[in-house]
């Protein structure tokens, strides 16, 4: 995969028309620190994709965060500065795109097999696992079952997992559904993230690298 959407490609922006206030907000918020934070998020999501699908892609993290920035500037992704900070918008864009990739490969594992065969960088050991390509869903099922098992004594964490299952992923939605206040939600969320570290060894190594 080639590096894409570098700033040099902004030549395309000649046809993009933004409100000057929108451009001001974009320029002011696109700081180095914010970009680093988005890059960390993108890197973690890239690792999640790669560990889940076993597809190696050196440029994936860079592609995720740079595409999110560039596509927002170009208007391919809509950003409303009045509603959400640029940083959160970019992370949401990366989230949506990375989730779509994994979900697609789970629904159409044959695409993953094809990719594995074409990807010269993929190690032979990964290629040997092709027979297990259709097993992604059962891997995910096992991880989730174990997360529930580990969280069994923690009502608040179980509540959050249930919310996720019902597509209630926004903090406010989860708090509304569970009745948790901000502090309780924050603490439960931290405990949930730490649960990954307590998965059994066979699931743990892959899940930690995928999620953490």
């Amino acid at each position: 995969m080639h590096e894409s959407n570098t700033p040099q490609q902004l030549g395309r922006t000649e046809t993009t028309v933004h409100d000057p206030a929108w451009e001001d907000a974009f320029e002011v918020q696109l700081t180095g620190e914010m970009t680093a934070s988005v890059m960390i998020y993108g890197k973690k999501r890239a690792e999640w994709i790669q560990r889940t699908t076993k597809r190696h892609d050196t440029f994936l993290a860079r592609e995720l965060y740079q595409d999110a920035v560039t596509d927002t500037w170009l208007g391919d992704v809509t950003w409303d500065p009045a509603k959400v900070p640029l940083e959160l918008h970019l992370k949401r864009t990366i989230r949506s795109r990375s989730a779509a990739r994994v979900e697609h490969l789970m629904q159409f594992p044959e695409d993953r097999v094809r990719t594995l065969k074409l990807d010269m960088e993929t190690k032979m050991s990964d290629a040997m696992d092709t027979a297990q390509a259709t097993d992604l869903t059962s891997y995910v099922d096992n991880v989730v079952a174990k997360l529930y098992e580990l969280a069994s004594g923690d009502t608040e964490v179980v509540q959050i997992l249930d919310c996720f299952a019902n597509d209630q992923i926004d903090r406010r939605d989860v708090m509304r559904a569970t009745g948790l206040d901000r502090l309780a939600y924050h603490n439960a969320r931290r405990r949930l993230v730490r649960l990954v570290e307590h998965l059994p060894n066979d699931l743990r190594e892959r899940a930690i690298r995928a999620m953490a």
Partner: protein, 121 residues
């Protein structure tokens, strides 16, 4: 995927998201090289944005500033503006400090001042 598998995927994905947000919030997870790359990317992007916006402003300026003003050199524009300031001391004219304005902004200021005076008369 059946409904049960879809639910499990949503959980699996959401936990990954929370872990990634956690890492981003803590600021941990980049090598020095990657962090420098992020800063460089932002700086280069902002530089390109600023250049694009300067070009936009120049186009807008040429579209709305009369040709007789566009043709003037900087010192002529400054001289005309100072005459206007003297002639209309109570008029609300932005940018009375001319030294900090670029040539283009100076011409735009003169155009604005002339337009304002034309409306007042």
């Amino acid at each position: 995927m059946n409904e049960h598998q879809k639910k499990n995927f949503r959980i699996y994905e959401a936990v990954s998201h929370e872990a990634a947000m956690d890492a981003a919030d803590s600021g941990i997870g980049l090598t020095d090289e990657e962090r420098a790359e992020a800063y460089r990317f932002a700086e280069e992007f902002r530089t390109t944005i600023r250049a694009k916006r300067r070009a936009d402003r120049a186009v807008q300026m040429k579209e709305r500033v009369r040709l007789s003003v566009l043709a003037l050199a900087r010192d002529a524009v400054e001289r005309w503006l100072r005459e206007l300031f003297a002639a209309y001391p109570t008029a609300v004219i932005a940018h009375r400090d001319l030294t900090e304005l670029s040539d283009d902004d100076l011409r735009t200021a003169l155009e604005d001042a002339l337009t304002l005076i034309e409306r007042m008369s």
